[in-house]
């Protein structure tokens, strides 16, 4: 009988393992969790993790290829799955920043080691994966060897699901989630000194406040963008107050610092409390937890 000795990792390898970025740990867990089901066909990593430029604040960008015939089912239950498996703080925010890549994007905030990690998931029908790979830099982490060719009927079903997803307006609850996720993203960009992206995210937070007021007070509005707000939203005292607060916020600096980002979030929550108190009540525990994590980050900074 021959005894075999396993090679011990070198001290440098041990140090590397001890300093493994948290994003890789989460990515590892995602692969384990998502590949359990038969609906997923591909997992591809995008962004800084794929290009080797990640830092401790980097998000995890994952493309999930899904059998076309099961896309609707997975989209409907993704929040449930992410809540149970990863304890995401909030329901997924329907990502409106990611470019059109033939699927649907969601952003989650995952509590990990006393801070919130951003997790960007992009669900793409299997029939569209090759096209997506031609448009973005993405590295294949896993591919289901049994991924079959997509039947035309399934391809039609996935297209219909995605069209419905794109056409469905956000509810007040979803807009509240949007405000919180955008705030987390904005704080990160400010911390990194990325002025242009911070400028865009601040603008998106302002539009979120506008959409909260309009969705709650004028749910069947025929107008979009910044048009007709005083005529429609300003019909009531609550609406006029919300618009006055928003106008004051718009007068602030276009390149925000962390305090300004916090003020805009407070405004979003304040306006939501006035126009959509039920949505705030339903997320009250989650909002409290989000603030606690922000407080921890402030203390750590």
């Amino acid at each position: 009988m021959t005894a075999t000795t396993l090679a011990q990792p070198s001290p440098l390898d041990q140090i590397a393992a001890a300093n493994r970025p948290v994003q890789l740990t989460v990515l590892d867990s995602l692969i384990t969790a998502l590949t359990q089901g038969g609906a997923v066909t591909h997992l591809l990593v995008r962004g800084s993790l794929a290009t080797g430029t990640a830092d401790r604040l980097s998000d995890v960008d994952l493309v999930i290829g899904v059998r076309d015939g099961r896309l609707a089912e997975l989209m409907a239950h993704l929040d449930d799955l992410m809540a149970v498996q990863f304890g995401v703080l909030l329901p997924g925010w329907r990502d409106t920043i990611v470019g059109p890549l033939g699927g649907a994007g969601y952003v989650y905030l995952v509590p990990h080691a006393d801070r919130l990690l951003q997790l960007d998931l992009y669900l793409c029908p299997a029939s569209g994966i090759e096209r997506l790979r031609g448009r973005v830099d993405a590295r294949v982490l896993w591919q289901n060897p049994d991924a079959a060719i997509t039947a035309p009927a399934d391809r039609d079903a996935s297209a219909e699901t995605l069209a419905r997803f794109a056409d469905t307006p956000a509810s007040c609850g979803q807009l509240l989630v949007q405000a919180l996720v955008l705030h987390a993203m904005l704080r990160k960009r400010i911390h990194r000194g990325q002025a242009f992206i911070a400028y865009e995210l601040l603008h998106l937070m302002h539009t979120t406040i506008r959409d909260l007021a309009r969705t709650a007070l004028v749910p069947h509005s025929r107008h979009h963008g910044w048009y007709h707000l005083p005529d429609e939203v300003g019909r009531t005292d609550t609406g006029r107050n919300a618009l006055a607060q928003l106008t004051a916020a718009l007068s602030d600096a276009p390149l925000p610092n962390a305090d300004q980002a916090d003020r805009v979030l407070n405004l979003a929550l304040d306006v939501a409390g006035q126009v959509a108190p039920q949505a705030v009540a339903e997320l009250a525990d989650r909002i409290a937890a989000y603030r606690l994590y922000q407080q921890r980050e402030n203390e750590a900074a």
Partner: protein
């Protein structure tokens, strides 16, 4: 009562609360400065080990301060006289606090529960002798989503007090959103010193939230959600979805396990249903007579 502990104001509890107070209650307040020193020591302690894996979702870490071997990584609970572990020697404020209680300590540990972590409904002490004993909790770090559920009621053990839990009745613990919950937990034998310490148990209004009943429609929707996750191949997530209902709605004893068994029965997996019924009986320490 030592200088670092203070009696609580006497409460006149309602009948329902009186029953709950038998199960979980505040005993005394703890001096803020001492608590802060113990927090600092506990945060510097090693995480320990993930013990009692069947009872938890993962994320429940314990490290021993007083046990029978003196090894902090030995987390086996047992009867007898406990001795300090090597870890407690590095935690002078905590050691002084424990010594000052004057209690007959059976086992003392630090327990950390991470975000999205759960201790499933269970009963404790079943493997131990009938000697009367109690479990004391000192929350060192907590958040409002960290709760104990028992009797269909959610109890948040707030920091600043010492709490008593009677763990021989079904209970479960969760830390839904985090950050980490960190408790000092002491199992103590009931003696005169304990009875003096526990002479005025109480619950404040903000400590307690009764859970709603599970309606027929909600039950069907819940099973439907779990069924959909299982259809997608995420059976573990489906089971955990049902287990977690224990922390959101009032269920009869063993009800969360029965929901999982029902899910598997519906899906034609009788073996899995039987396995979960057996899990229920084991975690709830049911004897053959009680089943």
């Amino acid at each position: 009562m030592t200088g670092t502990l203070a009696a609580l104001p006497r409460q006149d509890a309602a009948a329902g609360t009186r029953e709950l107070v038998e199960q979980v209650a505040r005993l005394v307040e703890i001096d803020g400065a001492l608590l802060e020193r113990m927090q600092a020591e506990a945060l510097g302690a090693p995480l320990g080990v993930v013990a009692y894996g069947d009872y938890q979702s993962g994320g429940w870490w314990t490290v021993s301060l007083l046990n029978h071997s003196g090894d902090p990584m030995d987390t086996v609970i047992g009867d007898g006289q406990a001795r300090p572990t090597s870890l407690l020697a590095q935690m002078p404020a905590t050691a002084e606090f424990l010594d000052g209680l004057g209690l007959d300590l059976m086992y003392v540990r630090l327990a950390r529960l991470g975000p999205n972590s759960f201790l499933w409904p269970h009963r404790d002490y079943a493997e131990l002798s009938d000697t009367p004993r109690h479990r004391l909790h000192v929350p060192l770090l907590t958040n409002s989503s960290a709760t104990l559920v028992t009797h269909g009621t959610r109890v948040h053990m707030a920091a600043g007090a010492m709490w008593r839990l009677t763990p021989t009745v079904e209970h479960g613990v969760c830390n839904a959103t985090g950050p980490d919950r960190l408790h000092l937990i002491a199992d103590v034998y009931a003696d005169d010193a304990y009875h003096r310490l526990a002479s005025n148990p109480c619950l404040l209004d903000d400590d307690v939230a009764p859970l709603p009943e599970l309606s027929g429609a909600d039950r069907a929707a819940l099973l439907g959600k779990a069924d959909a996750l299982a259809d997608l191949g995420y059976t573990d997530a489906a089971e955990q979805t049902l287990l977690r209902t224990y922390f959101g709605v009032a269920l009869p004893e063993g009800g969360a396990y029965d929901l999982i068994a029902e899910l598997h029965e519906r899906r034609g997996n009788t073996a899995a249903a039987e396995r979960w019924r057996a899990n229920r009986d084991r975690l709830l320490a049911r004897t053959a007579d009680a089943r």
